[in-house]
């Protein structure tokens, strides 16, 4: 049961991180390359100048750092 909980938590965190990075980085959501283009969240004016940083490797570190900070903040409150 502990393993199941950890697995579900991991899935949730991955889902949140993927959502943040994909929406802010590319302006689309849930795209699968070659299969599905994804939902367009923002218009083309956004996708032309999106935050490429979040797609690149350092963006992952930054996202998880801010997520952890956010969770710590909520826990303390």
């Amino acid at each position: 049961m502990d393993g199941l909980g950890a697995g579900i938590g991991f899935t949730l965190v991955l889902f949140i991180m993927g959502t943040i990075r994909e929406i802010l980085g590319q302006g689309i959501w849930m795209s699968i390359p070659g299969v599905f283009d994804g939902f367009k969240i923002f218009g083309t004016s956004f996708t032309e100048s999106s935050a490429i940083l979040l797609i690149l490797p350092p963006g992952g570190f930054l996202t998880i750092a801010l997520l952890m900070g956010l969770f710590n903040y909520w826990r303390k409150k």
Binding site: P57, P58, F61, I64, A65, K76
Partner: protein, 195 residues
């Protein structure tokens, strides 16, 4: 010769194994609180990674490939790495007991350090020959050492820095890693090497 130098630069700086490929993150954040443990972790990773890559290369080329047992490579490689780490652990316990207790759980955890298995696999996926493989393993592990020493020294200085309360501890280390990753991104495109 030229090619070997490019492999070295690519694995050492441009495709740094920790900052660009997210391999080997648990020792990277786990033992980087002090310079001394960080350095010794880096050096032990150099040792294990180089030996493991050489041994797995021979096993793959001369045993697994001819016998058509490629699907067994994960198991075989993990066994090789685990026995190397066992050897290292015995050595540390006997010769450097202080370091042994400082590294704690992270010493046996080199066994499942994804960086080492990852480099062994990348070595085979890239069809490197023995010499390029050795250079690749050494430069990857040097890149790991560089990254862990840099973050260790930054984290030592952070002890006295005013950090926002929720970011204290691990989150700020991730922010540092992100900034280091950005700095290392500056190397991409260097001599025509890409990510």
């Amino acid at each position: 010769m030229d090619n070997l130098f490019l492999i070295f630069l690519s694995a050492f700086l441009v495709n740094n194994i920790v900052l660009m490929k997210f391999l080997g993150l648990c020792p990277f954040f786990g033992v980087s609180r002090q310079m001394k443990t960080a350095t010794s972790m880096g050096v032990s990773v150099i040792f294990v990674m180089t030996l493991a890559t050489v041994i797995t290369w021979f096993l793959y080329q001369y045993i697994l490939m001819p016998l058509n047992l490629i699907y067994l490579r994960t198991v075989v490689f993990i066994l090789v790495i685990a026995s190397l780490v066992q050897f290292l652990e015995l050595f540390f316990k006997k010769q450097l007991p202080a370091l042994y207790s400082a590294l704690g759980i992270f010493l046996p955890l080199i066994t499942t350090n994804c960086a080492i298995l990852g480099v062994a696999f990348l070595n085979i996926d890239n069809n490197f020959n023995l010499m390029s493989g050795i250079v690749f393993a050494i430069s990857s592990s040097l890149g790991f050492l560089l990254a862990i020493v840099l973050i260790g020294s930054i984290r030592e200085r952070l002890e006295n820095a005013p950090i926002p309360e929720p970011l204290k501890g691990l989150p700020i280390s991730f922010v540092i890693a992100a900034l280091m990753g950005l700095a290392f991104l500056g190397f991409s495109g260097f001599l025509g090497l890409s990510l």
